[in-house]
């Protein structure tokens, strides 16, 4: 599973960072940055949860 983040859509709610801080971070301007786009087995479930919580649909899962 690969995570994609679209910073043009990001509204800086911080939901992703709050949910899985090993995968998602925020830059100084509050926009999402990915610490990894391939979450490991331990963080995959929470990363998926973060994708569903994103209010601006800036996150998506790319099937590989």
């Amino acid at each position: 599973m690969r995570i994609k983040a679209d910073t043009d859509l990001c509204v800086g709610s911080g939901q992703c960072t709050l949910t899985e801080p090993t995968v998602f971070d925020q830059d100084d301007d509050g926009l999402v940055t990915l610490l990894t786009d391939h979450p490991d087995d331990q963080s995959a479930a929470q990363a998926r949860h973060a994708v569903t919580l994103c209010p601006s649909r800036a996150l998506s899962i790319v099937q590989e």
Binding site: V11, G12, S13, L18, D29, T52, L53, P55, S56
Partner: protein, 408 residues
């Protein structure tokens, strides 16, 4: 009082009073069972779509074909009186009423102020503020104490002072005026007066920051604006006012109701007392359970569309009920149970879509610190009156408690 006909509810007067006092009005459940999106008639005149299902609420709030512009025809302003409406339409647009690119341009410069990292730096100061008011509580011999005045209102007020960079010498003024703005004991004239004074104060504060920009929220906004060209003084004053109004009474109400929720569910309170690691999830559950800002997330359709079985036409108003969505059993099993362990992060208490609450993570932190500290330092805290005798804000746009007499 009301009779439903083929998905329509005649004369649903919004806002509707809550039930018991925790549960949503019974009409909400009836409407949701009929259809996740249904047409309602508003007693204030006209009709609007009523979105009561959790998934449908997310869909509408994330869909750019709905406008947040309160000045547009068809926008369902069911909870505002004519005078407030006129005032709203004559004032410059706040961020919450903007759409698309205009909204992004207003919100983007500010979101860096509310990152998890930046807020974490505020944590020790917020802890100090909470401890300060709990020290005062413990120092008094008076019983019962009204927790609304002693803790719920002053904590978020001082946190906003911190955020806006209000100098310490002005804290008492800010504290007293912001309390007067929202207190039931103030007369309408006192409330208007306090409102005007706060507005003038914020205008003056922004002017002072422009002369001497420091390393705070306004200092950074001013630097950013100067870098990009022109300084927008009026925009900064509006931002200050928005941060105050959005972050003060709302947080205060959640503090009060959260305390009521925990005190009336001692088994849930025991869970966070023995394991404060659970407090963040308890906060999410309390936010879901009370959903104090219900029907605030209204929209108007800008195109014809089909959503959740409803044919919505351009120009029609849509009221998204976050409270109904947060009690939708399809999203939250046994929604009437207050269950701190349920995992309630997908609640819509902060809204959804591009307008989702800017200060949500600040609110989360304030609530976590207040609940943890209050019940750790005053473990014997209890309501001084039966819960049914508490004066809940059934008449207000934002739900809460006017007073919360507690003792220990």
């Amino acid at each position: 009082m009301t009779k439903s006909v083929a998905g329509e509810l005649a004369g649903l007067e919004l806002p509707v009073e809550r039930g018991c006092p925790f549960a949503p009005p019974a009409a909400y459940e009836r409407l949701r069972e009929q259809a996740p999106i249904s047409k309602v008639r508003l007693t204030s005149g006209g009709q609007a779509w009523w979105v009561s299902g959790h998934e449908e609420a997310r869909t509408v709030l994330a869909d750019p074909r709905f406008s947040s512009d309160r000045r547009k025809d068809g926008f369902p302003l069911f909870n505002l009186d004519a005078a407030t409406l006129r005032q709203l339409r004559s004032q410059p647009q706040l961020m919450i009423g903007m759409d698309g690119g205009e909204h992004a341009a207003a919100r983007r410069p500010v979101i860096g102020e509310f990152t998890i990292k930046r807020l974490a730096a505020l944590r020790p100061r917020i802890q100090d503020i909470v401890d300060h008011f709990i020290d005062a509580l413990l120092a008094t011999d008076q019983r019962p104490v009204d927790l609304v005045q002693a803790l719920s209102l002053p904590v978020p007020s001082l946190v906003i002072c911190e955020l806006l960079g209000v100098p310490y010498t002005d804290h008492d003024f800010f504290q007293s005026r912001t309390t007067m703005m929202v207190s039931r004991t103030s007369s309408p004239q006192e409330r208007r007066q306090a409102f005007t004074e706060v507005r003038a104060y914020l205008d003056d504060l922004v002017t002072r920051k422009e002369a001497e920009p420091g390393d705070d929220l306004f200092g950074r906004q001013i630097a950013r604006q100067r870098q990009n060209g022109a300084l927008d003084h009026a925009g900064l004053v509006s931002l200050a006012f928005l941060l105050l109004t959005a972050g003060h009474e709302t947080t205060a109400n959640m503090i009060s109701l959260g305390v009521v929720g925990l005190l009336t569910h001692p088994e849930q309170l025991a869970l966070i007392k023995t394991d404060p690691g659970r407090t963040p999830m308890a906060v999410e559950e309390l936010l879901r359970y009370f959903t104090i800002a219900d029907g605030v997330t209204s929209r108007v359709a800008t195109e014809d569309m089909e959503i959740g079985g409803a044919s919505i036409r351009a120009g029609e108003g849509v009221i998204v009920s976050a409270l109904s969505a947060n009690w939708d059993p399809a999203a939250f099993k046994d929604p009437a149970d207050l269950d701190v362990d349920r995992g309630a992060r997908h609640h819509l208490a902060f809204g959804f879509g591009p307008h989702q609450c800017l200060g949500q993570n600040l609110a989360r932190m304030e609530l976590q610190i207040v609940f943890d500290t209050l019940f750790r330092r005053i473990p014997a805290l209890r309501l001084a009156v039966p819960v049914d005798d508490l004066p809940f804000k059934n008449d207000a746009v934002i739900y809460g408690a006017h007073e919360l007499p507690v003792t220990w």
